[in-house]
């Protein structure tokens, strides 16, 4: 009798645990809701459309303005790379980049042989999309890449093990890896890979992944991303909270036809292009 009771309790206990735990685990896997940073405890807004409670900062990039103002894009790129100590190895194999220009069919991977000439010749600024539902965050085995409360996808350079699963998971190719020591110098010329170190931002070590941080280090002090600052009042880049109905960025989005990169993948990219 006692033995039966014990058995029953055991089974009941085990099935309760399984019953409680399994659906939660399944839900997490199925919904693909990336948990936020281990430190952040704010309610999840992994899927921005479904839960517009939190913030989700994003950009509108007006490619017409960039086309009309040659040189502006390079200023943005150089400013970003220099304040973030992005190394320049001067070879494609070791290349690290946070923001750069590419062509329409590279950015949007759409085949259109009859694309308007001015669009075909135009450059498109690409950077991390800070997706509302990022596949890189889902893939990371250590939460070294995570979404913060502003909806930015960030990197913890001290936790990253360098497995590069996030690079395989990013459908936009926006992540770079430190194949070698970025703090080093070119052996032949003695040229340091980081021309001038900005002491306000950490340099990285070899073996970790990095990418655009939406200047979270500036935003948390009340600032704005560097590229937005460089673009100034040209209207080339508009930045703001996509979940705030009254934000300037939402006004621009409501009035202009915009496109995103690969929206069909469900990552909900937070960068919108005016073509």
């Amino acid at each position: 009798m006692d033995n039966d009771r014990r058995k029953f309790l055991k089974i009941a206990g085990l099935s309760t645990i399984a019953g409680l735990g399994a659906p939660a685990a399944f839900e997490m896997l199925l919904k693909g809701e990336a948990p936020r940073s281990a430190l952040a405890s704010a309610p999840s807004h992994g899927a921005a459309a479904a839960a517009p409670a939190g913030k989700q900062y994003g950009f509108v990039i007006n490619t017409k303005v960039f086309a009309d103002m040659p040189g502006l894009a390079n200023k943005c790129i150089e400013a970003c790379h220099s304040i973030h100590n992005v190394p320049d190895f001067q070879n494609k194999k070791d290349e690290i980049k946070w923001i750069w220009e590419t062509k329409y069919h590279n950015a949007f991977t759409v085949e259109n042989p009859h694309l308007a000439h001015n669009v075909e010749e135009r450059n498109f600024m690409v950077l991390c999309n800070h997706c509302a539902n990022p596949s890189c965050v889902r893939a990371c085995p250590t939460k070294a890449t995570f979404k913060n409360d502003d909806g930015m996808v960030l990197m913890d350079y001290h936790r990253c093990i360098g497995c590069r699963f996030c690079m395989a998971a990013c459908p936009y190719g926006m992540r770079s890896f430190n194949w070698r020591d970025p703090r080093g110098v070119d052996k032949e010329t003695g040229r340091p890979f980081i021309a001038r170190i900005n002491p306000e931002f950490p340099t990285r070590m070899r073996g970790v992944v990095e990418k655009c941080s939406m200047c979270s280090e500036l935003v948390e002090k009340g600032g704005i991303p560097k590229c937005v600052e460089v673009a100034g009042n040209t209207g080339a880049i508009i930045w703001g909270d996509l979940n705030d109905k009254n934000s300037a960025i939402n006004k621009v989005l409501a009035e202009n036809f915009t496109i995103q990169r690969k929206p069909e993948l469900g990552t909900q990219p937070s960068i919108f292009y005016i073509v």
Partner: protein, 387 residues
Amino acid sequence: MIEKAFKGDARYYGWLALLMGVITIGGLCYIYQFNYGLGATGMSRDVSWGVYISQFTFLVGVAASAVMLVLPYYLHNYKTFGKITILGEFLAIASVSMCLMFILADLGQPIRALNVLLHPTPNSILFWDMIVLNGYLFLNLLVGWVVLTAEKKDVPPPKWIKPFIYLSIPWAVSIHTVTAFLYCGLPGRHFWLTAILAPRFLASAFAGGPAFLILLCLIVKRVANFDAGKEAIQKLVTIVIYAGLINFFFIGLELFVAYYSQIPGHMHTLDYLFFGLHGHDQLVPWMRTSVLFGVVALALFAIPATRHRDDTLGIAAILLFISLWIDKGIGLVIGGFVPNPLEEITAYYPSFVEIMITLAVWATGFLILTVLYKIGVTVKQEKAAGL
């Protein structure tokens, strides 16, 4: 039983010394890579995984294939596999060990590897892969050792080992399924984003693993006078044929979906692998060799005249192993990165350092395999001789 590993002839020690030599050279290369960074390899931001991860993927399959012996022997009491089931389990141990070494070799910050345990992240498939691989290693070590010890003492294996044996069967399927999930769950990599990836992995594993076992049986017969038995080997051949046919059928399905639907994203990587894409055709000779070797091997396996002769059987096993190694160990992982998400094509050539480290990991695997086989075969031979 360990002591059996130390009693061998000159050939045995010569082979171990050769492996140790390769391991030493590869170890030195690894020290260089550790200090310089993964830039010592041929990988780049576009092809961000290379031979390390592709060897890992291939070897997970070899490890999983042990189930093709364990299942008939333990679940269906198929006695013919009694002599060689331990060879399958030991092959699994060596393969999983290699998998773990390849993952470590591929990490940018290997000393932080335990962060995976320190910050467990169940939404990452890599977290689950770590669990299933280590679990499988543990299961095979436990089962292999306990059953062999019992055999040595001439007693039936203890009853408590049964649940572990049964658990190892679905567990074998899980390691390759989870490994496929690493790839097929990623949006935007069209070549990998296919529900048939896990079944394809399993089919190729259940063909390649047993083919390798056939080869090992033939080698052990020659060098250690240990005959697995004609019936056991012929049964393995049957398994290889069916799994091989299913594997090629699955590849055919992939080709159909891509080329009949004409969706560019689905065709690009296949174009790159089999025909060349925009003039980039570095992998075309490899992939065509893979197809050719696979077809020839299956024919040699199927034709009665060749499947019953040790020499042609050995050639068939080698050809099929190479075929599947190219398909999974080169084409699948590297192909998935071409073209990159920006539709650019970047070529990848492994560096000298990378190749030496890869060879050293294989040599370590063979070292583990040799020592384990030495122990297993000696125990069985002593028992057979009534010692």
